[in-house]
């Protein structure tokens, strides 16, 4: 308990741009202090997210989003302060998304002190396709901004 920071990448790499969360985690390899945990989750299951951030003071979540912004756009949301804007949907290819899981955490009183979501705008969530180039560039930007915040 009482660890400083956790980075959680949410997404399914088998579903196109939904894999951006996993990609951000991969890009963080070797760039964060050793004690910072990196957790990969395939979807926004509330129990798994609550477990993943339990005990951490600062939590960073990287996930694909659909908000109407240009593909590859990176947006930062301080979700400890309030819900995601209504136009932003964190994408999940099954069940509940991370946005719903965060609100479930808020309702249960189990949010960390700081909860930052980096959303990368995606466009294609088809089976078996990789990240589009703009989304890959967005992943790199999100990773760099997370490194900057944690350091």
């Amino acid at each position: 308990m009482g660890e400083d920071a956790v980075v959680i990448g949410v997404g399914n790499p088998d579903r196109g741009d939904d894999g951006v969360g996993t990609e951000v985690l991969a890009l963080l390899e070797g760039r964060l202090p050793a004690e910072v945990r990196r957790v990969s989750l395939s979807g926004g299951d509330p129990a798994q997210l609550l477990e993943a951030w339990a005990g951490a003071r600062r939590v960073f979540i990287a996930d694909a989003m659909v908000s109407g912004a240009p593909v590859g756009t990176v947006r930062r949301f301080d979700t400890a302060a309030g819900p995601l804007p209504a136009e932003v949907q964190l994408v999940s290819t099954h069940a509940l998304g991370a946005g719903a899981a965060i609100e479930m955490g808020r309702a249960l009183g189990r949010l960390p002190a700081a909860l930052v979501v980096y959303g990368v705008e995606g466009s294609s969530f088809a089976i078996g396709t990789g990240l589009g180039p703009a989304v890959a560039a967005g992943a790199a930007e999100a990773a760099s901004r997370i490194v900057e915040e944690i350091s």
Binding site: N12, G43, A47, Q48, H94, A95, M104, A107
Partner: protein
């Protein structure tokens, strides 16, 4: 939603039903108090899985079809593997067969708890969503989240990963777990035994509309076991055929409003598959603990009230937890993870019980094992007619409700089925027109 000009000829329209998997709609027309049209439409685009399975090798089917659904991939793997195995004469026995039952326990637990507590329970307690419900029912939501995770953990250990698991193959498994790996699941499963018993009691105490339907219940049925992945196709109105007889007793029809084929009993009509059907056709195969919990929740050996499906989902969760503990206790790792077989041409059939109902697969292979054609009949596609029957009945008995309450009740009626529209299209939007 529009306001009625007078009570008996009002009009309600809802464009999108929440808390279901996928995209569909509901259109209802009532004139002078008479229900004229009830149409349950699926507008999620068709996904053409059957077409792109053609030309693939037999061994690709479990992994490709598992991608049809993020909630019930195991069902797809089981039905496809069993269909292929029926062509090659492979018989799953011993620990390999038991492991398939165990992974199904995991899928039933996670899917049933997700639907019962996160998607369906808010209907009964009057909340827009589980998030709105969580603040007032914190303990129940916390318990449900943990219970669901017990199921996820089983699927992860056996399936290699939680979403679209990859460890099932035609002929068995790629890798089997050690006894120790399975025993690590036991403490949480023992907690889950009490939690699932609580879930049955909790949902058994909910208020239920007094509606019973004359369902033709259809499920897989095995002489000795509550059904997962082996048995005959049976109904309470006379169907009793081997799985290979699916197309002899059922037919798929296309209706303009749905991108998913609807299924019906030939020359008869709608049928109902899913937890209520399994329960009512196989009650005697449930353990004394589950039967007792059912009785305590006010259920007899059959149940024809579609709204009580939430209780039956919790009973099946309890069954799955108990069965998982039994299977782990008896498990001895087999010498090899699969059974050998020779590829040959032929036609094979597989039917297993996905959490939301029977899932039928049929494949025809050439002599090298390439798929010539495939047929996949998901439970939600099979349930469409039954859903429309229920909506009509609920409408007829609830026309005195104000528009917002009626809409609520109709959406709840659809969610009784835990529909997975993504599966059915391999579907919700509500439109009520009272004139």
């Amino acid at each position: 939603m529009s306001t009625p000009s007078k009570p008996e000829t009002r009009s309600i329209s809802v464009d999108y039903l929440a808390r279901v998997e996928g995209e569909g709609n509901l259109k209802v027309r009532v004139r002078d108090g008479q229900v004229e049209i009830v149409e349950f439409g699926i507008f999620e685009p068709p996904r053409f899985y059957e077409a792109f399975l053609r030309g693939r090798r037999f061994g690709d089917a479990p992994d490709i079809t598992a991608r049809i659904c993020g909630i019930c991939p195991i069902a797809y793997q089981m039905s496809s593997a069993h269909a292929m195995e029926s062509i090659f004469g492979v018989k799953m026995d011993g620990a390999l067969r038991e492991l398939r039952r165990l992974i199904y326990c995991g899928e039933w637990i996670e899917s049933h708890v997700l639907h019962a507590f996160m998607l369906h329970l808010p209907d009964f307690l009057g909340y827009q969503s589980a998030i709105h419900m969580a603040a007032d029912h914190r303990d129940a939501v916390e318990k449900a989240l943990r219970l669901k995770k017990v199921g996820n953990d089983i699927v992860t250990v056996l399936g290699g990963r939680e979403i679209h698991p990859i460890n099932v193959k035609v002929g068995g498994w790629y890798k089997v777990p050690t006894k120790k790996e399975l025993e690590a699941l036991v403490p949480n499963l023992e907690w889950a035994l009490d939690a699932a018993t609580w879930a049955v009691e909790f949902t058994g105490g909910l208020p239920f509309p007094e509606i019973e339907q004359d369902f033709e219940y259809v499920s897989v049925s095995h002489p000795d076991e509550y059904p997962f992945n082996e048995g005959r196709l049976v109904s309470n109105k006379g169907i009793d055929v081997p799985v290979s007889g699916w197309n002899d007793v059922f037919e798929e029809v296309h209706v303009a409003r749905s991108n998913a084929l609807q299924s019906k009993v030939r020359e008869r009509g709608s049928y109902h598959c899913g937890p209520l059907a399994r329960y009512s056709l196989n009650f005697e195969k449930l353990s004394p603990r589950v039967q007792q919990a059912a009785s305590k929740a006010g259920l007899g050996p059959t149940c024809f009230n579609p709204f009580k499906s939430i209780v039956v989902r919790c009973l099946e969760t309890l069954h799955s937890v108990e069965e998982a503990l039994r299977l782990i206790d008896a498990y001895e790792a087999p010498a090899r993870p699969d059974v050998p077989f020779e590829v040959k041409a032929g036609e094979g059939h597989g039917a297993s019980e996905a959490p939301r109902g029977m899932l039928y697969h049929r494949y025809r292979l050439d002599e090298e094992g390439y798929i010539l054609d495939a047929q996949i009949c998901p439970p939600t596609a099979q349930s469409q007619m039954s859903i429309e029957d229920d909506l009509r009945r609920v409408l007829e008995t609830s026309l005195d409700l104000p528009d917002d309450e009626l809409q609520w009740r109709l959406e709840q009626t659809v969610r009784n089925y835990d529909p997975c529209i993504s599966c059915a299209t391999h579907f919700l939007k509500v439109e009520i027109d009272r004139g």
